[in-house]
């Protein structure tokens, strides 16, 4: 196989996706339902990462700045910080 052919990009059905859904459950919806614990665990992990990031910031000013950046608005009160968090 020459390099030009080998490097040609094509679009096709993903056998990994098909195979995983096929093996796990009768359908995509059922697979999603069956994986709900895993997906919520991923959510938990991401939010923990986010929280860890906030806590890791060394100064209160940085924490406030990051919170403001994330909220898209100036954060100045404790109540707002609580909401952002």
């Amino acid at each position: 196989m020459n390099e030009a052919d080998a490097s040609l990009e094509i679009v096709n059905v993903n056998p990994i996706w098909l195979g995983l859904v096929f093996t796990l459950a009768p359908s995509e919806k059922a697979a999603f339902a069956g994986l709900s614990d895993v997906v919520l665990g991923i959510v938990q992990g991401i939010m923990t990462q986010f929280g860890s990031g906030i806590l890791a910031l060394p100064t209160e000013e940085r924490q406030r700045n990051v919170s403001s950046a994330w909220a898209g608005r100036a954060i100045s009160t404790g109540s707002e910080v609580g909401i952002v968090q």
Partner: protein, 726 residues
């Protein structure tokens, strides 16, 4: 003295100085020595407490767990989402090492593109809150708000990241609600069964329920919390349904698939920024030899079924790649990551019995397989589903039984049209399909019942018999009898999940579901199928459901027996396949029964989608004689499928390999038996000539001898005459 202050949520972590106004009424009794008409003086004293950022009333902020729980429970206006890449916060440029560990860095590394928080989901009337509001409206209530306490959020994570048995608790809740819904549908909301089910739901999951505040006639127009973790005021089942939707549909489809796998909105070609999900864009090399799919990083290994590979090796496997070396394979075998058995192909030599030449003994170490074996095909040797499949004894496509009778050189020389030791139908083990296949002698639409009627074809001077597909042999049958009732309505795998599904799987021989489509779902463990090129000889509706054209052309390509049909030419004497054209096409079953998520729903909206069941071309393996210079050339076809985007073009991969006896080998075969036939003919002729000449000589000798034997008589006659004369 008493002090009352409205603090933020008691468990909310504090990361910035908190200013808390305390309004403290002080009542100071007035007494002697200050007699006064007033008995007491009340003063209002406002104090300001500045709490350090790392302080919180009840929690230690160094633990991110409580932090996330409180955020999950109370976040109502800022969501953890990053549809648009965020600029680094002030003083936190990406190159700044001080950013390491910041939310910007951590979330940028695991981007999310949709709000995650349950609170947001339910308070957004354009999202989950809308469905909840609609349900409540059905009962004359108006949705007001939803919120969770820290304890409820904590319980939520604890309960719904766990399983009951093998089932995720989100799914368990969904099943209970489904049962509850059957009572509602029957108008039995107040029945004992409905009440019991609702009580069970609250008993098992009530600790996770946040406060659902509603208003309406039933509440006298006032806002009232009718469900929380403490009590069910009658609307907890509605909240539970919203929970189940959030867990089993919203998070998996929008967050997990939409963000983690796809990484954003779908592109026009049907693929996604992260190149995951159902449609992917990859190079031909990757299609053939594998790629690193985002699903392996997105899903924890523990979530995959046991034995699921953690990587994808492509259609041909990684060892078929040109850049792979034998040393790579040796290293993998030494490390135990690959088994040498995968290369084991055992066939009889024919030394003991010539007829057994190239008959299979075992393939990849497997002589036979039964239900439950990883190598099981799904059917028995006869094709009956569920029976043991024996590799041993099946014949290779490369070799039919060699001839064991004596051919007369007188008949052979000149045309070499020998009668084979096999019949007008030959069977062989098609390894790609993991089943026995049959080819018939004849031409399209005209097959011979007797091998004596088979026509001979010249292959490099060798007179061979041509065998092709007889479509009658690839219809759906039940115990060998043609049947369409056995096809079922879904894959065998899908049907095996009953009672979760009411679809029926195939019961036909070879688990076939459509004419001309070899169902490989059991042996390949994916919904795949094999067919002839361009879906040739498949039943009506299958080819019409897809579009197959050359690149840049709108002209449809249809199967042509003369150009694309499978044909194998066997030398009748040696039984060898000396020429072959094998256009096999790998396909996937893309079906609505399997792909039922909203994201891909529009694939199945056309009237020409073969009843929501596409046989979707993936790749063609072409084994055909061709000029060596073309052997490595790939051709590309586009398969058009209407998706909800517009048109999704999937490209087929053609893999061609050279399969025809070489000139040298043809010469060797001819020399191996044609020369002896010629010698035999010469000897026969010599023998015949010798026989004739000997016969003539014998006759002449006989006549001469007779002549000599006659002379004494003549002499006696002559002597008698002489005596008479005397």
């Amino acid at each position: 003295m008493s002090a009352h202050a409205k603090l933020p949520h008691p468990t909310a972590p504090l990361t910035t100085p908190l200013t808390v106004p305390l309004t403290v009424p002080l009542t100071v009794p007035l007494a002697a020595p200050f007699p006064h008409p007033l008995t007491a003086l009340t003063l209002t004293l406002t104090l300001t407490l500045a709490l350090a950022p790392t302080l919180t009333p009840t929690l230690t902020l160094t633990n991110p767990g409580p932090l996330l729980h409180s955020r999950f429970a109370s976040n109502i206006h800022t969501n953890l989402e990053a549809t648009v890449a965020r600029a680094p916060p002030l003083g936190c440029a990406s190159a700044n090492s001080s950013c390491v560990g910041s939310p910007y860095v951590s979330v940028s590394a695991s981007p999310v593109c949709t709000p995650l928080e349950l609170n947001t989901y339910l308070n957004d009337l354009t999202s989950g809150g809308g469905d909840l509001a609609t349900m409540l409206a059905g009962r004359g209530l108006t949705f007001v708000s939803f919120s969770m306490t820290y304890a409820e959020a904590t319980a939520f994570f604890a309960v719904f990241t766990a399983k009951t048995g093998n089932l995720a608790n989100g799914l368990v809740l969904g099943q209970m609600l489904q049962q509850y819904n059957t009572f509602l549908a029957a108008g039995e909301r107040a029945s004992a069964d409905a009440t019991t089910t609702a009580a069970k739901i609250f008993s098992d999951f009530g600790a996770t329920f946040g406060s659902l505040t509603v208003s309406g006639a039933a509440t006298g127009g006032a806002n009232m919390t009718l469900c929380n973790s403490m009590a069910d005021g009658g609307v907890c089942p509605a909240l539970a349904l919203a929970y189940a939707t959030y867990l089993t549909s919203y998070l998996p489809e929008k967050f997990f698939v939409g963000c983690s796998l796809l990484g954003g909105p779908m592109k026009e070609d049907g693929t996604s920024p992260r190149n995951g999900g159902l449609f992917v864009r990859h190079t031909v090399r990757e299609m053939l030899h594998g790629w690193d799919d985002p699903i392996f990083a997105a899903v924890p290994p523990s979530a995959f079924p046991p034995g699921t590979p953690s990587s994808y090796g492509g259609l041909l496997g990684k060892y078929a790649a040109q850049e792979r070396t034998l040393d790579d394979l040796r290293a993998d075998i030494t490390e135990g990551t690959y088994s040498m058995e995968r290369f084991a192909l055992e066939q009889k030599s024919g030394g003991e019995d010539l007829e057994d030449a190239s008959v299979w003994i075992a393939r990849q170490g497997v002589t036979s397989s039964v239900v439950g074996d990883s190598s099981y095909t799904g059917w028995g040797t006869s094709g009956r589903p569920g029976e043991p499949f024996n590799v041993t004894g099946l014949r290779s496509i490369k070799q039919q039984a060699p001839q064991d009778k004596v051919n007369s050189p007188l008949n052979m020389v000149g045309n070499y049209e020998a009668k084979p030791n096999f019949g007008s139908v030959v069977d062989f083990y098609l390894t790609q399909a993991a089943r026995k296949m049959s080819l018939s002698c004849g031409t399209a639409g005209s097959f011979s019942d007797s091998v004596d009627d088979c026509a001979y074809h010249d292959v490099k001077g060798i007179k061979a018999l041509k065998y092709i597909i007889d479509p009658r042999l690839y219809g759906t049958t039940l115990d060998g009898v043609p049947s369409s009732a056995c096809r079922g309505t879904a894959s065998a795998m899908h049907a095996s999940f009953a009672p979760a599904t009411s679809s029926s799987g195939p019961s036909c021989d070879w688990l076939m579901r459509h004419e001309g489509v070899l169902n490989l779902e059991v042996t390949r463990k994916v919904p795949s199928a094999l067919s002839i090129g361009y879906l040739g000889h498949t039943q009506s509706g299958i080819r019409e459901a897809v579009s197959i054209t050359e690149v840049g052309s709108s002209t449809q390509i249809y199967f042509d027996e003369a150009e694309d049909g499978i044909a194998v030419f066997y030398d009748p004497i040696t039984g060898l396949a000396i020429k072959g054209r094998e256009y096999l096409q790998a396909n996937f079953y893309v079906e609505a029964t399997l792909l039922d998520s909203q994201r891909y729903a529009n694939i199945f909206t056309a009237d020409t989608d073969n009843d929501d069941s596409f046989v979707w071309p993936c790749a063609q393996w072409r084994l055909e004689p061709m000029a060596q210079a073309q052997a490595n050339r790939l051709q590309h076809c586009f398969f058009h499928h209407y998706t909800y985007l517009c048109v999704c073009e999937c490209t087929d991969v053609f893999v061609r390999r050279y399969v025809e006896i070489s000139d040298d080998d043809a010469r060797s075969i001819k020399e191996a038996y044609q020369t002896p036939f010629i010698i035999g003919l010469v000897l026969d002729i010599f023998g015949i000539v010798s026989f004739v000449m000997c016969s003539l000589l014998g006759l002449m000798c006989f006549l001469m001898m007779r002549a000599r034997e006659k002379k004494p008589a003549d002499a006696s006659l002559e002597l008698g005459s002489t005596v008479e004369k005397m």
